[in-house]
Amino acid sequence: MSIVKTKLDRRSFLKASALAGGGMMLSFSWLAGCKPSPKEVALGLPDEWFEMNAFIKIGENGAVTLFNPNPEFGQNVKTSMPMILAEELDVDWKNVWVEQADFYPERYGRQFTGGSQSIRQGWQPLRTAGATARAMLVAAAAQSWNVPANEITTESGVLIHQASGKKAGYGEMASLAATLPVPEEVELKDKKDFKIIGTSKKNVEVNKILTGKPLFTIDYKKEGMLVAMIEHAPAFGMRLKSFDAAEAKSMPGIKDVFSFKVHQDDYEHNFFDTTTHYEMIAVVGNTTWEVMQAKKKLKAEWEVAPERSIMQSGFGGNASKVKIPAGLESSEGHRARMEEFSKKPGNILRRDGDPEAAFKKAAKILERTYNAPYLAHNCMEPVTCYAHVTADQAELYGPIQAPEVISNTLSARLGLPKEKIQINLARMGGGFGQRAYGHHLVEAAVISKQVGAPIKMVYSREDDMTYGIYRPTYTATYRAALDENNKLLALHVKAGGIPETPIAPNRFPAGALDNYLAEGWAIESNITIGAFRAPRSNFIASAEQSFLDELAEEMDKDPIDFRLELLERAKTNPVGSNNDYDAERYAGVLKLVKEKSNWGQSEPGIHRGVSAYFCHNSYVAEVLDLRLEGNKPVVENVVAAVDCGIVINPDAAANMGEGAIVDGIGNAFFGELPFKDGVPQKNNFHQYRMIRMAEAPKKVEVHFVKNDIDPTGLGEPLFPPIFAAVSNALYQATGRRLYNQPFMKELESEITRM
């Protein structure tokens, strides 16, 4: 049992009514289909709700509503975050229903989905909120029964005073509890007493998803709402010159056609304001199909844009000038420039020992270069947003991972104070990092303001795929110095990309090597990039873990044993002091995957690859088994071992892990977005190959290390290591090391060359 101060969490106890001026609760009419129906909760709907705090309402009948603070994009926080509340509140899950909180940072604090941080950063605040509400219910019972509070226990929504035999449901005490002062300190449960955390609960929205209820922004409708689509420049580095709207405007059902600026010219951008196209054309009409037809009739002229600069603040806040270069870029040019930069010295990001001297005296040097292309996120729900902007307020409903950041942007763009802007959080049809960037909310708001009506803006798939905010293209060169006895003397990595380096300099294998050098470089570009499931890690893990596999072979060591040796060194006698990983936990997942995959036992026709990585505070090791059907690789099985501390919702956590593995295999095999003269060379799924059922592994097992360490996230960590598990297994199968993603393309070209 631990005692925590409620202070940090006290804003969640502000009542909505006490917040006049501090936050606005617009009467946002959500579709009837999305309200919980009484039958969904065992106790049914109460007559009255009593608000314990921002996260918790209790009805007089004992029914409980829990609010999920963070945006849901498939990572299942809408189930797992309320599970944490329910645990400390001590209620029966069957009496709980869950609602999505609107964006309301004054009450909820951090409402951000990204970096696999929801559970990690929500853990303490949610436990505290649940425990505090429980303490207030106990205090209400103590007052009603005139007994000391510390003699009262709770059990699944029931207050009990053993000595007097008194019992009451939470519902009976809720109205009094809601009026009591919030305690300064509360007790949290012992982890061993958890009843909900660690047990699998179904996705709270699964029923609505399976029956086609309106859930997503694209499903949203409101009286008088128009549909808007946009036309953006066909290429990066181009801008609008002029357009003729006459024909489009004359099409059936069309209300208006106009160009608009997404930001004002002197706007100081924040971190998530990444904008590819500063001026666009909007087509607004009655129905989606009519707008799609009118869009085809637009006659727009585009011109090459000059170089420009914007002011943009970093993740920490400080603004700096960012150059957007002119030019129509192509993948071929990118490759040549990256090769050129690879050969020049980079910025030294970490240097341990004397790596240069070690390379000088090396008997053998192993050097390999790895490349990966740009990737498009391709969320299944294309970019979309509802907005209703009037002279004095704005209401938005959209898929957004970072609502707080975009609320500042909207305030600046619309000239409205933040409390007059209500952002409601839609379930997202995928996000993967891309929905952290809220350009679509600004675009929808500007369009709504211009037409003076509520609008739902929908991108076509082509508009979505060609908009930008991609996973960058990267290259990494690894070098290892070996002595005459094949002992590893030094490791050197130089890696860069357009427009960033993928290196995390204090991450393994830094810390495990006496002589280590990490250099980074970057090339600027007008092709916009953004977070993509485990940014940077999703490439550097593939390069590093492929290289370690090849190095282990060169040193005649088992690839798992080799990694364990390095980790043992990092644990017992670490080099440097800033290493950002726990070597023991890292080794733990390798040991677990070794055991669970029966590593070392071979099966005819099955080729295995192993890979491991630490990022976003969690540790993962994966073993992938494939066989060749002719020349075609077929993934049979993937075994993953994960250490993310306490697992809140095990089956959902496994689902997340399976998905990340499938996603990674798909991108490793097929993912690629090339450019020619600034134009993305793929604009829909007939060109952009995504993994499909037949290419998915036949089986995926996700095993969790059992411990009681505070939980960390899962959305990203299983994704980066799978790329190298694929390439390492392909090497075992084909005898060829693959250095260029996507691997199927390289594999096919290798086969053609033979």
Binding site: F73, G74, N76, S200, K202, N203, E205, V206, N207, I209, L210, T211, G212, P214, L215, F216, I218, D219, K221, V227, P252, T287, T288, W289, E290, M292, N378, C379, M380, E381, P382, R427, M428, G429, G430, G431, F432, R461, D651, A652, N655, M656, E658, G659, V662, D663, G666, N684, F685, H686, M690, I691, R692, M693, A694, A696, P697, K698, K699, V700
Partner: protein, 151 residues
């Protein structure tokens, strides 16, 4: 514009739209049946899958003019209470992540099982290969189809 008599989920629906309007947008914009999703508009992702006369079809690429005289079932018409064996199997395996593609996945699975009650892995791969799940829930989808086949 023209008037069309449609049979959707066993009900007659009359719409007055451009004959080229895909069934997808008639469902979503005119009939408020938004369970059928827009994903690509070119029959490549399967998010818009509905069942037309017993077959899984991509509603984004079939004009409403071709729908008259056919029977269309959408996700909303699969069952009254969400208890179609395929929906139940999806629930049992807690398949969805973001959930956006799942209506299309379910409709493809229903059409598969209606035509082939005991599909092999290859049958499943073939029938489901037109449906993309960006979250990568394929392993669970396959398990759910097998569960539904056995129920």
């Amino acid at each position: 514009m023209a008037t069309f008599n449609l049979n959707i989920n066993g009900k007659t629906q009359i719409v007055d739209v451009d004959p080229n309007t895909p069934i997808l947008w008639v469902l979503r914009d005119h009939l408020d049946l938004v369970g059928t999703k827009y994903g690509c508009g070119i029959a490549q992702c399967g998010s818009c899958t509905v069942i037309m006369d017993g077959n899984a079809v991509r509603s984004c690429s079939i004009p409403v003019s071709a729908a008259e005289g056919t029977k269309i079932t959408t996700i909303e018409g699969l069952s009254e209470k969400g208890d179609h064996p395929v929906q139940k199997a999806w629930m049992e395996h807690d398949v969805p992540q973001c959930g956006y593609c799942q209506a299309g996945q379910i409709m493809s699975a229903v059409a598969l099982l209606d035509n082939n009650p005991n599909p092999s892995d290859t049958d499943i791969d073939n029938a489901m290969n037109g449906n993309i799940c960006r979250c990568g829930t394929y392993v669970r989808i396959k398990k759910a189809i097998k569960t539904a086949a056995n129920s």
